[in-house]
Amino acid sequence: MRVVSTVAALLVGVWSPLAFAGDDDIEDWDLEGLLQVVVTESDHERTTANAPASVTVLSHEDIALSGVASIPDLLRRVPGLQVVEVSPGNFVVAARGFGGLQDNNVLVLVDGGPMNTLADGSVRWSGLPMGLHQIDRIEVIRGPLSTLYGANASSAVVNIITDPSDPRPMAGVTFGGRSERLFERLIWASGGGGGDLLSWRVNVRGNDVRTTSNRQAGQRIGGLGTDVSMLFNPKGRWSGSARLAWTLDMRRGENAVVANRVHYVEPTTMLTAGTTYTVGTFVDSLSLEGGYVARQTSLLGEALTPTQDETQEAGGHATATLRLNLPAGGSVIAASGFGTDRVSAPYLPAGGDFFAHGHVRGTWAQPLGERWLVDAGYRVDNHVLTGTRGSWRSSVQLQFTEQTLFRVSGGSAYRRPSWIEAASRFRDPADNVILLEGEAELQPQRNTSIEAAMVYASSYGLAFRPTVFVGSFDSLISQDSSPFVFKSFHSVQSERWLDTVGVEVEASWERDTTFVPRMAFTAMHIADPVDTSQTVGVPEQNSRFTASASVRGEVGRVRYGVSADWMSARRFDTAVGLPVQRITTNIPAMARMGSEVHYTPGRDGIVSVGALAETNVPSTRQSPLPGAAPLGTRVMVTLMVRE
C-alpha cells in the first residue's frame, strides 16, 4: 500500500512558479550562458568542458522548468551535493561528504557576494534575496576552491547569478501539503524598473508552514527585498558596476528547531562596487573591487537557545587584481585584499569581536602545445582565528581528441571555524551564566582531494562527464575549552589518507531547444570516523547514492519540463542548535518528481503552472523535531503569471 501511495504521489506531480525570464529584449540574454562560460570557477574564462574543476551549470531554462520551489531542491540534481531538509524550509547542503556544524559546509554566493553568516557560517536559504524566477543561472563548483574564494570555499561553491536589470512584474502562489499534517503556502511578487544604467527591483514573499492539527506548531517566514543596481560601462577603457541590496526577513517561529513563539526581524544590507581599467596587451587589466555586508537579527519574544538571540555582524573588504597576458596564450592573475569583520552577540564577550584579515593569491594558466593545459594557484590567508594558512590547487588537462578531454585536478583548502565554533567564551544571555570558558586552540577543518575526470562533448550537443574523486579530511580541533556546552567539543584528526571516495556522472544532450534531456548520478562512500558523537565537523554520513533525470524543451509557445530525483543514504547525522543536538536518521530512499509548463499567450506574458511531489520510501521517524526530515509525502501546486 505504501508503494502504491508513493507511486500515486509521484504521478500527481506539483506545480511550481517560475518565470522564463528575459527573452523579449536580446540585450537581456546572458552571453556567458549561451557560450557556456563559467564565471565562478576560474580567473581565466573557461567553459564547463575545460574548467580545471568539476562544474555543473544550471541554466535559466533548467531552473525555470525544473518544477521545484526552492534553491536547495534544485541543488539535488547536482552530482556530489547532499541536500537534506532538516525541517520545513531549513536545509543542510554539503558536498562530497565534507560536513560541518549546521549548514556551513558550502560557500554560497549571490552574484559573487557571500551569503554565509559570519556568526555560524550557515546559509538561510529561505532568506536569500531573490526567488527562483529571478535567477539567470547557478554555477556549482565541487572541490577545494579556496585559492579563489578564501578559507570557506573548502568543499564547494554555489554561485547564484541573477539578472538585476530584469524589471518585469511577476507574481505567483504555491500551496500544498505534506504528511504529518503539514500545510504550507508560499506567495510572492516582484517588479522593478529602470534602464541599462540604473535599475531597481522589489520582491515580496511570504511563507507559512504549519500543521493542520496544531496551529501552534509551525513557522511563518516573510520577506521584503529591494535591489538597486547600477552598471557603469562607458566607452573607453573604464567599466564598472555598483549594487545595493537590502532585504528584510521576518520570521515567526513556533517550531522547536528555531525557537518557541518568537519573532525575528532581520534586515540585511549589501553594497558591492567594482571597476576595471583595461590597459593593453601584456598588462591586460587592473581591477578594484569592494563590498560591505551588514546583518542584524533582532529577537522579539522568548528564545529557547542563546544563539538565536540578537546578533549583529558586519564585514567589509577591498581587493585589487592585476591580470597579465603571457606569451603562447598563458595568463597570470595576481590579487591582494584585506577586510574587517565584526560580530556581536549576547553569547560572545561584551562588545563583540572585531578582526582584520588579509590575503594574497596568484593563479596561472598556460597551454602547452596544442593538447595540454596546466593550471595552478596558491593563496595565503591571514586571520586571527587561524593564523596564516595556505591553500593550493592545480590541474592538468589533455585534449585527447577533438571531442574528448581528460583532466586530473588536486587541491587542499580549509574551512575557517565560525565564531560559534571558535568562541572561547560563551555566556547565557538570560542569566549571564558563563557556559564555556577557556582559550580554544584551533586547527581548522581541511579538505585535500584529488579527482580524475573525462569530458566527452560531441558536435551534436551530447555531453558526458564522469568523475572519480578521493578526499581526505582533517577534522576541526578545538582543545582546552571547558566542556560545558560542548561536552565533547574536542575532536579527532583523521589518520587515514583516504576518507571518501566517489563517482559522479553527468550527461546531457542539447541538440536544439525542443528536447533537452540531462541526468546526474552520484555514488559515494565515506569512511566512518572514529566516533561521530565526539566530533564537530566530520563527515556525517557513510554512504549515499543520488540520481536525477530531467527533460525540458519548447514547442511553439509552450515550454515544458519534467524532472525526477532519487536519493538513498544508509545513515545521515546532522547537528542542530546549541547545545548541539545530533539527529540520526535513516533514509533508505527518497524520491521526488516535478513538472512545469509555461505558456506564452502574447508577446510579453507568461502563464506558468507546475507540480511537485516527493516521498520517502519508506518514511522513518527518528527525529524528535516536528516536521523534521525525513519528510513523508508532499504535494504542492503552483500558479504563476508574468507580465
Binding site: 527573452d23 523579449d24 529584449d25 536580446i26 540585450e27 540574454w29 552571453l31 556567458e32 549561451l34 557560450l35 557556456q36 562560460v37 574564462e45 567553459t47 568542458a49 560601462n233 566607452k235 577603457r237 567599466s239 576595471t276 583595461t278 577533438e402 571531442q403 569530458v455 562533448a457 560531441s458 558536435s459 551534436y460 550537443g461 551530447l462 555531453a463 542539447e510 541538440r511 536544439d512 531547444t513 528536447f515 508577446r603
Partner: protein, 182 residues
C-alpha cells in the same frame, strides 16, 4: 521493453544525425551584436537583419532551414531598442546587391555559409552604406562578428576588430573578453 529498444535506438540515431545547434548560433550572434554601443543610435524604428544565403549551396540552404524556427521566434524581439525585422535574400537569384540594400535598408547583414565569394563586396558596401556584418557557421574573413561551433558544440565568437570599427561598431570589452579577437 525488448521490443521497444530498437525503436528507441532508431529515434536516438535519427535525432543524433540532425544538424547541430544553428538556433544557438543565431542567438549568440544577435546578443554579441547588441554589445555595440552605437547600436541604439544606428537603428531606427526597426532593426532590420538581412540574411544573405546561396540557394545553390547545400550547406547554406541547410543552415537556412535549420534556422527557420529560430528566425520566426526572433522576429519582433527587440534589438538596440527597436523591433527586430528579419529578411532573407538569395544572393544567387537577386537582381543586384545595391537594389536589395536600397529596398530593405538593413542595419545588419548576416552571411551564411556558401557566400564567400560575395563577402568582399558586401564588406566594402557595409562601410559605404552603414550596416555591420555578421557571419554564421564558419569563420569568414571580412565580417565583423562571426560564430562557429567548436568540436564540443560550444559556440565560439570571433571578432574582426578592424572590420567592426570600419563599419562604425564600438564593441564593449564585455564582448571582447569572451571572443577571439583578430
Amino acid at each position: 521493453m525488448k521490443r521497444l529498444f530498437p525503436l528507441v535506438v532508431a529515434v536516438v540515431l535519427c535525432l543524433a544525425g540532425a544538424p547541430p545547434r544553428a538556433d544557438v548560433c543565431m542567438r549568440v550572434l544577435l546578443r554579441a551584436a547588441s554589445f555595440d554601443r552605437n547600436l541604439s543610435d544606428r537603428v531606427g524604428a526597426e532593426a532590420t537583419l538581412l540574411i544573405a544565403y546561396n540557394s545553390r549551396d547545400a550547406e547554406s540552404m541547410e543552415t537556412l532551414r535549420s534556422n527557420q524556427a529560430e528566425r520566426a521566434r526572433l522576429s519582433g524581439m527587440r534589438l538596440g531598442g527597436a523591433d527586430l525585422k528579419i529578411v532573407e535574400v538569395d544572393l544567387r537569384t537577386m537582381v543586384s546587391w545595391d537594389e536589395e540594400i536600397e529596398s530593405h535598408h538593413p542595419d545588419a547583414v548576416l552571411v551564411l555559409p556558401g557566400t564567400d565569394s560575395w563577402i568582399p563586396a558586401i564588406a566594402e558596401d557595409a562601410v559605404r552604406s552603414g550596416y555591420f556584418t555578421l557571419g554564421h557557421g564558419h569563420e569568414p574573413h571580412g565580417v565583423a562578428i562571426s560564430v562557429s561551433l567548436g568540436a564540443d558544440a560550444r559556440p565560439v565568437v570571433t571578432v574582426d576588430r578592424g572590420v567592426a570599427e570600419a563599419t562604425g561598431m564600438d564593441l564593449s570589452s564585455q564582448l571582447l573578453r569572451l571572443a577571439v579577437v583578430r
